[in-house]
């Protein structure tokens, strides 16, 4: 019985459908996105960045941590496209390699925040009552903290390192996500199909995961894109403050931190890693704006 209820209906593919014009909302969203020039630029840019980052071992002309004392602080040239730093390391190779840690850390941080936030928001919104009340008061308090200060104190507690940054950013994103998911769940909770599932006795957990959650996915996608742009900025930012990876490792924020001492003599040490951050965040934002329009989500 419950199998029949939960079986997903695919519009347009149902046998005996009169017209084939009924498309899934995802197909329609993709069509809208395809017509949005700036969103496509963002998507393409992001794909290029990800490909370059993944292909770093093949694309990088030099070893990112190999020092070369014959080429110290050289400005950009054909040999070293982005110049070299004070130890003769090739900035171009370091920027390409650095994407792995910078983008990877941001993605992991968002995953941590989204996972916990979805779990909390889903239960809080669906159950309601006392649980909801307690959770929402806790969320209120966490949201009262300035985000960066919260991240900094978490990073202080967890110690230095990329993992600590990922966790602090993830935890700091948790309350906002929980609040957002709860809002989405409240909009879905009392709709007829949820009521129907409840009426035929589908277990609560199954209703939450199979009926409520899938119907908030489009909002969550847009929300994730907003978080991800911020996460790239802030994870690199915490590294910039010296809380992230240990020095030889090429991470964009750490490179900027290192380059700070050489602004007077070697502008390229700071300009290129920051430009990489900017391009990635810009692409994410362009895509996020496009997704919001395509999925027809009201701005938060």
């Amino acid at each position: 019985m419950s199998q029949a209820i939960t079986g997903r209906i695919r519009p347009g593919r149902a046998p005996g459908a009169i017209t084939s014009d009924v498309r899934s909302p995802w197909v329609l969203a993709w069509r809208r996105l395809r017509r949005n020039g700036s969103a496509l630029v963002g998507l393409a840019g992001l794909l290029v960045v990800l490909l370059v980052t993944l292909a770093a071992p093949r694309l990088a002309p030099y070893d990112p941590i190999q020092t070369d004392y014959n080429h110290i602080q050289e400005p950009p040239s054909t040999l070293h496209k982005f110049g070299t730093d004070d130890l003769g390391r090739d900035i171009f190779s370091r920027v390409i390699w650095g994407g792995r840690e910078s983008i990877g850390a941001a993605i992991l941080a968002v995953l941590v925040g989204m996972f916990c936030g979805i779990l909390i928001g889903l239960v809080s919104g669906y159950r309601g009552g006392v649980i909801d009340n307690i959770v929402q008061r806790l969320v209120d308090i966490m949201l009262a903290f300035p985000v960066i200060l919260l991240m900094l104190s978490l990073a202080a507690i967890l110690g230095k390192g990329l993992l600590s940054i990922i966790l602090s950013v993830g935890i700091a994103y948790m309350p906002g996500t929980a609040r957002f998911v709860r809002g989405c769940v409240l909009g879905v909770r009392n709709q007829d199909f949820v009521e129907a599932a409840r009426a035929v006795g589908v277990p609560e957990r199954r209703i939450m995961l199979r009926h409520v959650l899938p119907n908030t996915v489009s909002s969550l996608i847009v929300y994730t894109s907003i978080l991800l742009g911020g996460a790239v900025l802030v994870t690199a930012g915490l590294s910039y403050l010296g809380l992230g990876v240990a020095p030889p490792s090429p991470e964009w924020g750490a490179m900027l931190n290192y380059g700070r001492n050489f602004l007077r003599f070697a502008w390229w040490m700071s300009v290129f890693p920051g430009l990489a951050i900017f391009i990635v965040v810009m692409c994410i934002n362009l895509l996020g704006d496009g997704l919001r329009d395509a999925l027809d989500i009201k701005g938060q």
């Binding site: 308090i141 985000v147 900094l152 202080a156 900027l256 810009m282």
Partner: protein
């Protein structure tokens, strides 16, 4: 007769307003307690014994035990929390682990510089954001609008710490208008304030644009145009006044972001302030210093939001009625 009624109206409004403010103040108490509890819990769960950290691992077991007794660490957690709240109520944020100075005094000494920076950033964000947003809305879908919106999206994507580096390279190293690091006075506030205010400005520009576009299609706007007002007067007197209400609400939310962002901007420009103070505390693992800064920051943001809420209540009668 009308005079009396007008007076009564004033009294009524005063009454409503007082109730509104009082209710907000009462709601503040659980929030503040929650903030204190969470900060306290966060640092209680931290691995490591404060007494040992203070002695930097060099103390004898007797010394550690004595310090634990002195710090009240042997009492139950509940008593410790009670004493903590009691001290906070008297404005005591404790002593720095390593400096030994009162954390409150250190914070108060650095706060004016950060506040100045945040205020300047906010002023920049408001002026730039609102005017560009209005400009974009009135030129909807023309190249001006597209340009402004692209710039705004870019402004949201620029890392503050990187913009600071670029500013230093351009204005200090190449043009030599300002020294590379440090310097005090209004002249040296401009670049940090722009860095800090850029993303709020970009965000405000987007918000103002959509808000103005909403209001532009209202009946009263059509009426204002129909009675022959100049477009300028329509925008400034009728549209802007209504469009800025939602803009005003988000200003409160920006205080926290500005306070947090000051860590990056102060570090980048070498400005001593609350941000650099917090960072130094974290690098030293000076827990009272971190705790104090976090509580101070959170309380400041909560109070700033309260002020914005109350002002908002004054401006928009619909809010008071809730």
């Amino acid at each position: 007769m009308t005079g009396i009624w007008a007076n009564a109206g004033h009294l009524l409004m005063w009454d409503v307003m007082t109730k509104f403010v009082l209710r907000r103040l009462l709601l503040l108490i659980p929030t503040l307690l929650g903030i204190i509890l969470m900060t306290f819990a966060m640092f209680k769960l931290t691995p490591g014994d404060p007494a040992e950290i203070m002695l930097q691992g060099k103390g004898t077991p007797q010394q550690v035990a004595a310090l634990r007794e002195q710090l009240g660490l042997n009492q139950s957690v509940l008593v410790q929390f009670g004493r903590y709240v009691w001290r906070l109520m008297h404005g005591d944020l404790g002593l720095s682990f390593f400096g030994g100075f009162p954390v409150r005094d250190a914070i108060l000494a650095r706060f004016p510089s950060t506040l100045q920076l945040a205020a300047a950033a906010m002023a920049f964000a408001l002026v730039a954001g609102v005017s560009l947003g209005v400009l974009a809305a009135t030129a909807r879908h023309k190249w001006v609008d597209n340009l402004i919106m692209t710039l705004a999206l870019g402004g949201l994507a620029i890392p503050q710490y990187w913009l600071a580096a670029v500013f230093i390279i351009v204005f200090a190293v190449v043009l030599k208008w300002v020294p590379v690091l440090g310097g005090s006075g209004p002249k040296y506030l401009i670049l940090p304030a722009i860095c800090l205010g850029l993303s709020p400005a970009a965000s405000l520009a987007r918000l103002t644009r959509s808000s103005v576009l909403d209001v532009l299609h209202n009946d009263f706007t059509r009426t204002a145009r129909a009675k022959g007002l100049a477009e300028r007067a329509v925008i400034l007197r009728h549209v802007l006044r209504n469009a800025l209400i939602p803009v005003f609400t988000v200003i409160g939310l920006w205080f926290g972001a500005l306070l947090g962002g000051s860590v990056f901007v102060e570090t980048a420009f070498g400005r001593p302030g609350l941000g650099t103070f917090a960072l130094a505390a974290i690098n030293n693992r000076d827990y009272p210093q971190i705790q104090g800064t976090v509580i101070f920051g959170a309380v400041f943001v909560v109070l700033a939001n309260l002020v914005v809420d109350v002002l908002y209540g004054f401006l928009d009668p619909r809010i008071r009625q809730e």
